[in-house]
């Protein structure tokens, strides 16, 4: 397994390579833009302007980033345990059911109790949806990649059914639940207006963004300051050494997946309790898959994930603005960029290492082995 991957200084591994991979992905995307007859630099400028050039842009960017932080953390925790959780999409979707069930079903409870309960319910549902594939992998050896993909589809059908037949009030045309008024997360705009008398541009940004920061910190703390986190990382880094150390792989796999699912579930908290205030179809909108790109770019570290999530938030908001300004460039351009990032960060991960290694260490590896 240890081939001649070449030694590299740590900062290159963590900082430079993601940047290079991003650059290559952007260049490739730029080529696509060229092919469709537009100016890639102009497109890039519009995207950056659209996200960073106005408060509204920032609002949207951070709102997107919030989602991506959650799903990125979810993928990252699983990666640390050596597992590829592609099921973030389904886990976030199921989590919405948890949030809505508590938010609507227990709405006689006062807000300070209802909201945390709803959040916990979302996390629990997400955890549950990831826990099952985890158990199947640990106890029956079922490949987690396949099972999580299947569970994405099962969730799509299941939640669709539930919204249609359980949550939708009689007589309502739209396929969604009634409004969740009890478990309510204030948006930035509302807070600014209510408590500061300031008028902010409208955006979906809400208090969940702080949850995202807390979650990032919590994941860092879990992985690097707890015994459980140590065991998770050890298992992913070196399963033989982990077994030698008395770590039980099946136990860790299950726990790591549950945590991963719970994190993905927080995306539903942002979307359902913070923005939509109702349960509706397809609200996850691919965030689970963006999480994969974010985790890969962020090297599965919370700080990297925060940065990568912001980057993708920028791309999504920018892409949205771009498609208004230039209808020829469909907003799915962002999906193309995303795919290229995953391709270069994930599949071609080692592609640039030999060249870089020769650059930094022309005479051979540093340090002894």
């Amino acid at each position: 397994m240890m081939q001649s991957r070449g030694e590299l200084p740590h900062w290159v591994d963590v900082g430079l390579i993601p940047v290079i991979n991003l650059a290559v992905a952007l260049i490739a995307s730029g080529l696509v833009v060229l092919i469709i007859g537009e100016n890639p630099f102009e497109a890039m400028w519009i995207m950056v302007q659209g996200s960073l050039g106005s408060l509204k842009g920032w609002g949207y960017m951070l709102y997107y980033a919030t989602n991506f932080v959650f799903t990125g953390l979810a993928v990252a925790v699983a990666f640390h345990a050596g597992l590829f959780n592609i099921g973030g999409e389904g886990q976030a979707y199921m989590a919405g059911v948890g949030a809505a069930t508590v938010g609507l079903g227990l709405d006689f409870l006062p807000w300070p109790i209802l909201l945390p309960l709803a959040i916990l319910a979302a996390m629990a549902m997400g955890a549950f949806w990831a826990w099952i594939p985890g158990v199947l992998q640990a106890k029956r050896g079922s490949h987690i990649v396949i099972t999580t993909i299947m569970f994405n589809f099962i969730a799509a059908s299941l939640v669709g059914y539930l919204i249609n037949y359980w949550f939708r009030p009689v007589g309502k045309m739209a396929v969604e639940s009634r409004e969740i008024t009890g478990a309510y997360i204030l948006s930035a705009r509302e807070v600014a207006r209510e408590y500061f008398g300031v008028k902010l541009a409208s955006s979906p940004l809400n208090f969940s963004v702080f949850l995202a920061l807390i979650a990032a910190w919590a994941v860092w703390y879990l992985l690097w300051r707890t015994k459980l986190g140590y065991e998770i990382r050890a298992l992913g880094a070196n399963p033989s050494a982990a077994i030698y150390a008395g770590i039980r792989p099946d136990r860790i796999i299950i726990i790591a997946m549950a945590i991963s699912g719970a994190l993905a579930g927080l995306m539903a908290v942002n979307e359902i309790l913070g923005v939509q205030h109702r349960l509706l179809l397809g609200y996850v909108g691919g965030a689970g898959f963006v999480g994969i790109a974010v985790a890969l770019m962020g090297r599965s570290h919370p700080i990297g994930i925060l940065l990568a999530a912001m980057l993708f938030g920028l791309l999504y908001q920018g892409g949205s603005e771009l498609s208004f300004a230039k209808p020829e460039i469909n907003r799915d351009m962002v999906v193309v960029i995303q795919g290229l990032v995953i391709l270069f960060m994930g599949a071609f991960e080692y592609a640039f290492r030999p060249a870089l290694s020769a650059l930094f260490y022309p005479l051979g590896g540093e340090g002894n082995q």
């Binding site: 015994k227 050890a234 077994i243 082995q369």
Partner: protein, 505 residues
């Protein structure tokens, strides 16, 4: 008579390891030629070069007197050289016939190819007593029959020279005997056989000539009839300068570990540890000698709780830990384990030294209350250990993979010794370690013993065993061949290590 194979001046390095040092060897046609040596002697490398897996740095190969270039296994096969690997290269869901035919199908459609091959297979099987059901699924065959398929593969491609790499490691004694019969038939039919092994019995039983390799060099070649096991054992193991280790007499106390009739079978049902019994007492170092691959690693795994015994007991401080099968429990009872494979087991390369220094001990309350892991305490502990054991560079934040072999080993030994165990089990403590570190590690192990702890030492380095152990057990083929004191001669131990002369149980 032109030799079938000649290796002239073969030299090969892998980085800093000089695997083959200017080896020159001639193999007579129609003979069985044995190559014997300990692990790391260079025999496998030499044969891999002959079979085209590696290219020698310098030297020449001649087949039937003509110089040839062997750049890949297809070249070797084309020259009539076939190899039966130690770990079989078989496609388990395929039938024996399909396996034999793979790569030499003789046509686009395998239907007709298989029919032709079947006839050929039947003929070969009869000629060489390599009977195998062509339609049997290889994965379901016993190991002895799988090996026959491997041999048939080589013969099917017209091999004139057959290389067998440690062929009897996976065979029962009966299967081994049958293999020897097959080899004799091959020889009678004019084939040349090269047998790589560390087992003296086999050499004496079927070879015509034997070459001894040691530390990359070809030390000697003898006519088998004209030599003895004793001479070969001595050549194999060599006369080394004994590393002087200061060691007082041992003061053994009560028994700490008792292994009773321990047997461990692998997935194929082969007993890798075969009815082993011994005990270790406080204040003594019990050394287990033997060529690697004879069950020592598996024995350590069972005692450490990584593997569960198939039968028999492991009793540590009065408790039967065989049932627990959990390294964490075993550590909690007072056992520490320095694994043989420090890179894959003992450390986590991508973790920094501080985190590797708590591997296996990360649950301790002293490292953090409850579920917490106190980073400062972890780093402080590592720093203290690194200082005491002179690990260089003494930087707990440096990635574990960046330390040299010797320093990595010191890190691991520090970790295990500082846990204050009642029993330390340690495998290959100085493999790939520089002299200075070796001395220090040996000193610490003796120190542990003098403090009244028990040590179980497994090593393939006979010097190490002899200089450290108070008692020596020799393992071969999963069994304990006998017990000797540290004054036992190399010859004595070498014989036992090569499978000759088991003590009465």
């Amino acid at each position: 008579m032109t030799p079938a194979i000649e290796l002239i001046g073969i030299d090969k390095r892998f980085g800093s390891v000089h695997a083959n040092k200017d080896v020159t060897l001639a193999i007579a046609p129609g003979s069985i030629h044995g190559i014997i040596g300990e692990n790391g002697a260079g025999k496998s490398t030499l044969m891999s070069i002959l079979f085209g897996f590696y290219q020698a740095d310098s030297g020449e190969i001649r087949v039937k007197g003509k110089p040839v270039k062997i750049r890949s296994s297809s070249d070797a096969i084309a020259l009539g050289i076939g190899m039966v690997h130690q770990h079989f290269m078989l496609v388990e869901p395929f039938t024996a016939l399909e396996n034999v035919v793979l790569g030499a199908e003789g046509g686009r459609l395998i239907g007709p190819a298989l029919t032709k091959a079947r006839a050929e297979l039947v003929r070969l099987a009869k000629d060489y007593e390599l009977e195998v059901d062509p339609d049997a699924i290889v994965g379901e065959l016993p190991v002895g029959l799988q090996q026959r398929v491997e041999i048939l593969k080589a013969l099917f491609r017209g091999a004139e020279t057959l290389i067998l790499d440690e062929p009897t490691g996976v065979l029962t004694p009966d299967e081994a005997d049958h293999l020897f019969r097959i080899l004799r038939i091959l020889k009678d039919q004019g084939k040349t056989v090269i047998l790589i092994t560390h087992k003296l019995r086999e050499i004496m039983a079927i070879t015509d000539r034997v070459s001894v390799m040691r530390r990359g060099e070809l030390v000697a070649t003898r006519e088998t009839k004209a030599t003895t096991v004793e001479e070969l054992a001595e050549l194999m193991v060599g006369r080394h300068v004994l590393l002087r280790v200061e060691k007082g007499p041992s003061n053994p106390g009560e028994t700490v570990l008792e292994v009773k009739n321990l047997t461990w079978k692998d997935r194929k049902g082969i007993a890798r540890v075969d009815n082993v019994s011994f005990s270790v007492r406080k204040g003594e170092i019990l050394g287990i000698a033997g060529v690697s691959g004879n069950g020592q690693s598996e024995l350590l795994d069972v005692i450490a709780g990584i593997a569960r015994p198939t039968s028999g007991q492991v009793i540590f401080e009065g408790k039967d830990i065989g049932i627990l099968g959990d390294p964490r429990h075993v550590r909690a009872e007072g056992l520490a384990h320095v694994p043989e494979d420090r890179q894959h087991r003992g450390l986590i390369g991508s973790f920094d030294a501080a985190e590797s220094a708590i591997l296996g001990w990360h649950h301790l309350e002293s490292l953090g209350k409850g579920f917490r892991l106190d980073r400062d305490k972890v780093v402080a502990r590592a720093r203290a250990e690194m200082e005491e054991f002179d690990v260089r560079p003494p930087d707990p934040l440096l990635k574990s993979a960046k330390f040299s072999g010797g320093n990595q080993q010191k890190l691991i030994i520090a970790r295990e010794i500082k846990s204050n165990p009642d029993l330390l089990i340690v495998g290959q403590p100085t493999r790939g370690v520089d002299i200075g570190a070796i001395e220090y590690i040996h000193k610490r192990i003796i120190q542990l013993r003098d403090e009244g702890k028990a040590v179980l030492l497994v090593s393939v380095e006979l010097d190490e065993i002899r200089s450290l152990s108070d008692r020596i057990l020799v393992m071969f083929a999963g069994r304990v061949m006998g017990e000797r004191g540290p004054r036992a001669t190399e010859r004595e131990l070498g014989l036992l290590m090569a499978g000759v002369g088991q003590d009465a149980a």
